[in-house]
Amino acid sequence: MIAPVSDMPEPSFDVAACVQRVRRRDEDAARALFQHLYPLVARLVRSHLPRRTSQEDLVQTVFMKLFAKLDGFSGAVPLEHWVSRIVINTCLNQLAAEKARPELRWADLSEEQAQALEAVTATPEELDPSQNLAARELVEKLLAQLAPADRLVLTLLHLEGRSVEEVRQITGWNVPVIKVRAFRARRKLRKCFEKLTEERVGS
């Protein structure tokens, strides 16, 4: 059955009680917890999806880890933060396993992505909202060329708009590490971007 889900957690959902019931092997509670957390997990997996893994497979892996580690959830942090960390670590491990990072060429871009790239380099104006999706896809392709940790830090800071403190909570890295990694990652991303724009000029 395809269950419709919304991105917002249900306000009436009692997380602590549900977690307790899951620990007692209550299947209804496990189902309710799955349905409650699915929107969050799916959105995060979609944001940090490794190239060669399907979203569904990764979501399944995340939920298996989540249920296996549920006994270790103390409740000291909100469940959503704890789950976010599991999702991001799972994606990071998967990205690290996929060592090869193919170079992005101008010819790899779709027509919309090429137009978005031309628009940001040709004019100082903001992109038309209709080009946002192409811009997102283009950025994901650019990020795919970076190391997993670099990709993660830029996604969290620039695409998800999280603060350094939030990144610290999610990744467990300390603040100076995050700042240095973000600085270096931005520099690498800029190089990839410049290479692509130079290729466009040359073509």
């Binding site: 298996m64 997102r136 950025v139 620039h158 971007f193």
Partner: protein, 97 residues
């Protein structure tokens, strides 16, 4: 700021406006996850049963060793063993001409 920096900033800004959708739960995913969760629970039950049996075996072995030690202590040197040896000796000397 270089033109490329500004271009990249604009590109990132436009990309950040797209929030990845959390689509509907794919068909069968919930069933698969719950089946794996159930299976993991069965594995855990097997593991705990195995752990119980292992502890029971160790406990029984310990009782066996203690009772054997206690039994040996009771039949130690200077008790029934010596008496039996003396009786044996008497019988053997009585039988021999």
């Amino acid at each position: 700021m270089k033109p490329n920096d500004e271009g990249l900033q604009r590109l990132l800004k436009a990309a950040s406006k797209v929030i990845p959708e959390a689509a509907n739960i794919p068909l069968g995913l919930e069933t698969r996850v719950l089946a794996q969760w159930r299976a993991a629970g069965t594995d855990e039950d097997s593991v705990s049963l195995f752990a119980f049996l292992r502890r029971a075996t160790v406990g029984a072995g310990l009782v066996l060793v203690l009772s054997a030690a206690w039994s040996l202590a009771r039949t130690g040197p200077g008790s029934a063993g010596d008496e039996a040896a003396l009786l044996n000796y008497d019988i053997q000397t009585g039988l021999t001409p």
